[in-house]
Symmetry: C2
Subunit: 215 residues, 2 copies
């Protein structure tokens, strides 16, 4: 039995939800409210599972797995079908590079913790925080678009098969829109995102479909 500790709006949690759905893995959903009560992720009980006080955490028996990209790799090794990495090393490197572009170069700068520290720790005003967000998100989307443009056109981010790159793209587009950046401005991204948003796994993993979604 798998249990996913997740927050509906967290893009790292959203990635793992998509991968679980694509692989057909049933899981229990354990909400971790990142804002309420000063952030449930900082509680002693959650820190036992995840010392970095981040979501997601995936629990499988006595294992507790942290870091969304490490969890995606574990899912790929443990539930190999359908594959979310290509078979060739060059393709795998490209897909992982695309995924890391968002996981390492955008998401850490846009997450709640970073924004809260800008505001409360450095006293950056709301306009400044928005400028910061838009800068890093636009920069990341433009670089991702450039990577997509340099490869032969495929159905998805890497050819005809779904991959970690697609799993990371949709949550990044969601975060972009929340922050006033329209991913539709990037033609390859826009085309692929529209396709992905029609797939059941992506629909079911969406933030507003989660038990802890707020309206």
């Amino acid at each position: 039995v798998l249990t996913l500790y997740s927050y509906w709006r967290s893009s790292a949690s959203y990635r793992v939800r998509i991968a679980l759905k694509l692989k057909g893995c049933a899981y229990q959903y354990a909400p971790v409210h990142l804002v309420r009560d000063g952030g449930v992720q900082y509680s002693d009980s959650y820190r036992q599972l995840n010392p970095e006080s981040r979501v997601p955490t995936l629990v499988s028996g006595s294992l507790h797995l942290t870091q969304s990209m490490a969890i995606l790799e574990w899912l790929e090794e443990t539930y190999p079908a359908p594959a979310l990495l290509p078979k060739d090393a060059a393709g795998r490197a490209r897909v992982r590079g695309l995924a890391q572009l968002f996981a390492a170069d955008v998401q850490p700068l846009q997450n709640l913790g970073a924004l809260k520290y800008l505001k409360d720790g450095l006293h950056v005003d709301a306009a400044g925080v928005r400028q910061w967000l838009q800068h890093w998100i636009s920069r990341g989307l433009a670089a991702f678009e450039a990577h997509l443009a340099e490869a032969p056109a495929g159905r998805y981010c890497h050819g005809e098969e779904l991959s970690f790159a697609d799993v990371c793209l949709v949550p990044q587009c969601y975060a972009a829109r929340r922050n006033g950046i329209e991913p539709g401005a990037y033609p390859h991204i826009a085309r692929i995102e529209a396709l992905l948003q029609q797939l059941p796994a992506f629909i079911e993993a969406a933030p507003d479909q989660q038990p802890d979604a707020e309206r």
Copy 2:
């Protein structure tokens, strides 16, 4: 023939240098000066190799690989010995989680681009930038230490064998010291770093040993 586009102080470049040395891969060193001339990484010629204008890039024939964690995985698949990931899926997930803790939760917040934007884009003063750096680095080291403390003690970050976690730890300690945080305050980290710093691969990959090092 491998060519590594690197900047001596970049911790992402440093990770890849360590892995190349551990695996005994010869490579040509191509320096990319991140500061001079407004940043050589933004030049058109470098963007052809790396659309996100980041270091490192590893070039192997017609392949150009971006994102340090994707490059480490490619090296592991292409040059499997000595292994830098354990054989079991749970161990691999732990090692990747430890590596991502620095790659996704610390390095993006401490890199030159982020600091420059705080200063020039948001007009945060030098004391504020230092406070930001020390906050994220301390937070990351404390979380990494908590992960190390919860596992049975081993020689290195994950048992008796070197792994991606060790490859990422030493560059993070270097970045910590540069920014006034002493990793020696974290006992497991301090013990393991001292061991790693005696190994030839780590010595040869160190920033001050690179052709572009400035003194």
